[in-house]
């Protein structure tokens, strides 16, 4: 196969997951959460179908992450991301006592984890030639 797991492809997947996470909730006040649960109660059917699509997108991302990383790799990755945030906080890059920065860092961490999970089967294939496949029958 040609062009598997190029940096631009990984970046696009990361940005797509970032878009999904921040469209679901972000601190600016313009997100699905604010539109569906904090605004007026009209257009319930449109809100329901968008909500369903968001839930399906998250199911797809989480399922891909469980399948490609598994517990064996996702727990170490979560530790790496968590301690990385701790280090950034030590350096004074982020201020975790501030609600806005804490929320943004948390969303970035979720997007990084799910983005890695979505791309990891491709990365592993390029790294090692081990193809991730599953039987349906």
């Amino acid at each position: 196969m040609h062009g598997i797991a190029q940096p631009i492809g990984i970046l696009v997947r990361m940005l797509a997951v970032m878009l999904l996470v921040s469209a679901t909730y972000n601190p600016s006040g313009y997100s699905y959460y604010h539109w569906a649960f904090r605004a007026n109660a009209d257009q319930w059917a449109v809100k329901s179908v968008i909500g369903l699509l968001i839930v399906i997108a998250f199911i797809v991302c989480v399922h891909a992450t469980i399948r490609s990383l598994g517990l064996l790799l996702s727990i170490p990755l979560i530790i790496v991301i968590g301690t990385g945030i701790w280090l950034l906080s030590n350096w004074g890059v982020v201020d975790l006592s501030d609600w806005l920065q804490r929320t943004l860092v948390l969303e970035g961490a979720v997007a990084l984890l799910l983005g890695t999970g979505v791309s990891f089967s491709l990365i592993r294939y390029r790294l090692s030639g081990q193809l991730d496949s599953r039987t349906l029958t």
Binding site: A45, L53, I56, A64, S119, T137
Partner: protein
């Protein structure tokens, strides 16, 4: 799996569903009432039945019960949303017929393309062992 391939597969699912039945009167089920020979009606019917079994089986294998249920839920709420936005009139019988046909076609198209889309996006492929 290119965008062109995605469109072709989706159109094939629409062609299969709409060729079997649609409200315009030009479909296999309408043609059954015509004066063609029984052999012709039978062979076309068997061909359509084969294609339906193939597409439904592919969809069932790739999406599973949960996937089909989610796809149908999206369609039902999507139709309600379109009705809420004033894009469709659900009191019209022809509109309901066309929406049902489009819905079935969309579920089949999702099922047929799902494994390909997933392999392209995440690199995780599905296979059948033993082959059906």
């Amino acid at each position: 799996m290119t965008t062109f391939g995605l469109i072709v597969r989706t159109l094939a699912c629409f062609a299969l569903v709409f060729a079997t039945w649609n409200p315009t009167g030009h479909s296999y089920l309408a043609w059954l009432h015509g004066d063609a020979t029984l052999a012709a009606k039978t062979v076309v019917g068997a061909g359509l039945l084969t294609l339906h079994i193939l597409f439904i089986r592919i969809t069932w294998l790739s999406l599973g019960l949960a996937g089909v249920a989610l796809a149908l839920a999206v369609l039902v709420f999507g139709v309600l949303a379109l009705s809420e936005l004033g894009a469709v009139d659900l009191s019209s019988g022809a509109t309901r017929d066309y929406l049902s046909l489009v819905g079935v076609s969309m579920v089949l198209a999702t099922g047929v393309t799902w494994s390909l889309v997933k392999r392209r996006v995440t690199g995780q492929s599905n296979y059948l062992n033993p082959p059906p």
